[in-house]
Symmetry: C2
Subunit: 722 residues, 2 copies
Amino acid sequence: MEFEAFLLSLGTSAFIFLVLMFLFTWLSRRPGNVSIYYPNRILKGMDPWEGSSLTRNPFTWIREAFTSSEQDVVKLSGVDTAVYFVFLSTVLRIFALSSLLILPILLPLAATDNSIKNTRNEADTTSKGTISQLDNLSMANITRKSSRLWGFLGAVYWISLVTYFMLWKAYKHVSTLRAQALMSADVIPEQFAILVRDIPSPPNGQTQKEFIDSFFRDIYPETFYLSLVITENSKVNKIWKGLEGYKKKLARAEAIFAATSTRPTNKTGLLGLVGEKLDSIEYYTDLINESMAKLETEQKKVLAEKQQTAAIVFFTDRVTAALAAQSLHSQMVDTWTVTEAPEPRQIIWENLKIKFFTRLIRQYLIYFIVAVTILFYMIPIAFVSAITTLDNLQKAIPFIKPVAKITFIRTVLESYLPQIALIIFLAMLPKFLMFLSKSEGIPSRSHAVRASSGKYFYFSVLNVFIGVTLAGSLFDNLKALQQKPNSIVTVLATSLPKNATFFLTYVALKFFVGYGLELSRIKPLIIFHLKKKYLCKTEAEVKEAWYPGDLSYATRVPSDMLILTITFCYSVIAPLILVFGVIYFGLGWLILRNQALKVYVPSYESYGRMWPHIHTRILAALLLFQVVMFGYLGVKLFVWATFLVPLIVTSLIFGFVCRRKFYSGFQHTALEVACRKLKQSPDLEEIFKSFIPHSLSTHKPEDHLFKGAMSRYQDYAAISAA
Amino acid sequence: MEFEAFLLSLGTSAFIFLVLMFLFTWLSRRPGNVSIYYPNRILKGMDPWEGSSLTRNPFTWIREAFTSSEQDVVKLSGVDTAVYFVFLSTVLRIFALSSLLILPILLPLAATDNSIKNTRNEADTTSKGTISQLDNLSMANITRKSSRLWGFLGAVYWISLVTYFMLWKAYKHVSTLRAQALMSADVIPEQFAILVRDIPSPPNGQTQKEFIDSFFRDIYPETFYLSLVITENSKVNKIWKGLEGYKKKLARAEAIFAATSTRPTNKTGLLGLVGEKLDSIEYYTDLINESMAKLETEQKKVLAEKQQTAAIVFFTDRVTAALAAQSLHSQMVDTWTVTEAPEPRQIIWENLKIKFFTRLIRQYLIYFIVAVTILFYMIPIAFVSAITTLDNLQKAIPFIKPVAKITFIRTVLESYLPQIALIIFLAMLPKFLMFLSKSEGIPSRSHAVRASSGKYFYFSVLNVFIGVTLAGSLFDNLKALQQKPNSIVTVLATSLPKNATFFLTYVALKFFVGYGLELSRIKPLIIFHLKKKYLCKTEAEVKEAWYPGDLSYATRVPSDMLILTITFCYSVIAPLILVFGVIYFGLGWLILRNQALKVYVPSYESYGRMWPHIHTRILAALLLFQVVMFGYLGVKLFVWATFLVPLIVTSLIFGFVCRRKFYSGFQHTALEVACRKLKQSPDLEEIFKSFIPHSLSTHKPEDHLFKGAMSRYQDYAAISAA
């Protein structure tokens, strides 16, 4: 790819970004779109705009994002979101502070050398085949063994030190953030409960529930409150879901009737297309009554007969719950295992019954599957990367040829094709990884998100970054690797400079087009308006159409991490990338701040438990960077490259120290945190009820009286099941 | 070494054993020796002999050992000793059960083949240079690629399966043993306390003690009892030790005066040899009074000014203490770190103040030092092993030559020299390793013993076993290793058979002479009688002279482990060693049972916390055996050797599963164990007092009143120190 193509690609991206920004400014001011651009504020019962929509300055959102405090974010979007912003700002600071010293020193150092002109050594250029202006600003332009390499070595040190410093500060900050949230004087239901798994079979004459109660009452005679035995709910859930569906359809039929004054009808056969024609309102009312009866029977059956080997145990105070969640209850570690209870809304109910060693086996099996997936995805990625160069496409699909001759289209295709292929490819993966993570037997959604985002990170670094880098000269590299299997670092280091332009374009595409689409919300907007016009009949259906969902960390964090890894690894080889990194994380911070405050609604709260994972992965990226630089300085025949070894060791020690100092505070609730006084004594009945799944609690959500009876009923049913 | 030398060495060992047994039978019946052969029973206030000493059958002790139950051992010598016997009997069972199948199958398989006669391949013989009858019974006599090797492969599987089965049973048993002991209805002081380290500096205006008390009172408002702040005691300890010394000397002077009616005198100068001559009784009385005053001043000063950043915190019930010991107290993991409190008698007081990261650094530093020690001890051991062959000695010390020509002496020297050199060499090490382990900052003696015995194990396996094996043909091996650095397993496997006779002799020496000396207690007996006759004047001094000490696991367990490793590794190559292994662990069980019941007095109780370490090391030895067999079957060009790979993986999985299932139960006190009811409500005042060090509690141990005041005083002093 030539320099012009790079500039053009940048220009196109910037142009798309400007168009999207304009669309956002225009669309977000129209009252009809308010539920797309301000759903979080609406759901929180706030005024979407503080002022009038017409007199608003189009850049108000920027001011609002900048003036919002961390506490605003916590209040409107939870601790997890605030932690995500700590991540964005930390990385932004790392790159900004790094460039402050690196750009003014390394760019002149590189520009005034002339290795490329002199040697015309292909292995040293940053573009494939041809030489571009970008190369003159990169390490490729430095002569081998040159003492200028000291500057680049120093830059690695500078970036590393800045990273350690910022990470340390951030970890401390997030730790405080988490502690403050957990200290909350408000009642957080899950702080009064623990999750108990691997409960052994009760002795003869005792029900599961009696057994659990007597076990915990022996240990906590004064603070044990109640236990909620986990049940096998698949059937009752199905009935309940059916019921909810019928209710919606009934509401819809009634809305149509109210609007058109003709009673709607529907057919009972396949997809409502064939079969008898019936009055919808009557039909669904009948179905609802039928389901309600079924639900009640099944509910009784579930509570009496389908008790599993897990339970949620409630205590009368937070300290006991925090103590209990951290302590060994049984001499045999694979029975009565305890953990902190997850939030009710994020419990993965069907995983709770999975046994200790089954969970372990599943976990390792899935690690193995992921490893295999990572390994074998590399092959198609390499092919995609090879095929999507235009020359290869022309050979494969001849009719493209005339189109490709138009210079403009040609350059656009040349600059975007590989990146687009890559992005599509990666979009297919997260669901698969999430499915795998849930299969591990993880009890909560936030934990599954962490597990899946970890897998996605290693996947994207290994496949996208290393894969693309090596694939550029796949066959040469394979040959080299066969001869010297230990030289993977050297091969990677030599291949890196050739792909600098590719990754510069990739980052630019991500921030211009990616964040442009993010802010303008074109896709949700169009879908919402289509649904509203043609499908939605009831208020509930309209709300469902605009409901924004959450920030979806499972894909967002790893994708940021990939940009971070790329920026780290090129920060010294092609320092210009630091500018792109700063823009990516700066723009990201700004735009997502707006989205967090106004758009997305968090679907769970894990009080920043994501942070240690983010921290470890930033360090992993730094380590990769240091190793790659060690290799590349070696390629440049710079003997002092060995000076990087202590830095690599420092990174490992830094990671170890951070883990020892901070990690347990994220795994457990520290007692000094749990012992803070509450505003008022907790309503334990309410806490208990919040953990009962919808399908078991009641079929009339308004009927509080009945709900109370249910929880009592459950006790009764469990005891009488003996 | 020739076969005759081996037989002679066995014979000599057996003869020494018989002599020692006879001495034991004779000496142990004499009433004057009762405090050497029955000290544990005397100290427990029991009758040393149940019947009369004269009518006693000389083999009664064997019957008594066999009929004693595990509960007897627990009662007389504690859980740790019982666990040690579980270890001995488990290994005994492994070897006995293994030989049952292996000896009748492998010995004929080996004896009827004739690889040695046919090939005269030196690398395949079990003795160095010459061929002996022993070789015919070993794997060395099996022809390469022979299908008989299937039998040997099967034997590896058999031994491994037997080991897994026995280890699993033993771990379960020990786990129950530990739980039962911890469930005890008697008050165990340390079950009511936790050890808190890394306490941050108190805020202004608070003393360390106030700060600690308020921190724990916030978290445990109802169950917190008191805290005991750790103090810097080196000076007060010194004064107290001086005082105790003077008291002993005064008692001694008084005893002399009572016996001889002349007032004893002593000189004040160097070693009591020079200087002024004084009346001893007056002199020591003066010194005692002086020290008492000094002690009291220093005690006040210590309590007021020398408070450290650690404390022992007491609770009013066991469950809270067990919960607290397992839970994270501070959001920052390196402050307020908690562990279960060790027994008062085994606390290493001066280690408690060491800070979190200092402990970590010390730990890794010491691992490094131990690794270096292991590596560099190998060199002198190799030399010892090379020099102590008789031929080399003759060259080095020519005047040995005439003596060495006498056949008898020659054979004795030939068979014992290397072993004796080895034993002396290893005797120098334990103190050094114990010093290193204590320097890690470990808070209790039992933990230090575990740490040091672990180091000793890896040391002895790596240096003695592998070292001696490889040193036999050091230079050949070094050459081989230089060419193929990955071939360490193969080199080890080829060298093993050559050393079979050496290790057979080593094991025999250990059980005949080692256990003979153990049972007959010749050395303590002689020392006791000498001391009693020439040195001891007071009753206390006599008791000190016969006080037996404990089983000293720090050296005993690793030395058993070395025998275990040797037996494992040769069990298939030279199956005869299984017989020796069975005798070693059988005889060991019998003789140590007698010693545990009658002689040794445990100096601490860790409730079997040693077991997981023993377990892991037995598995490590098994793994080494499997790897070595994989190598040796490879040397025999047996392609099916790969069938051992699944076995090696199984060992790793077995270890992992055991660790997950059982280990936490040894690390912590499970709550189902801690929640058992006590016989009576605990005397918390007494529990608190038991943790006050002697030097701080009082200078008159009988004065209970003063003791009570002291603990109150401590509260007072700490508070008034603000």
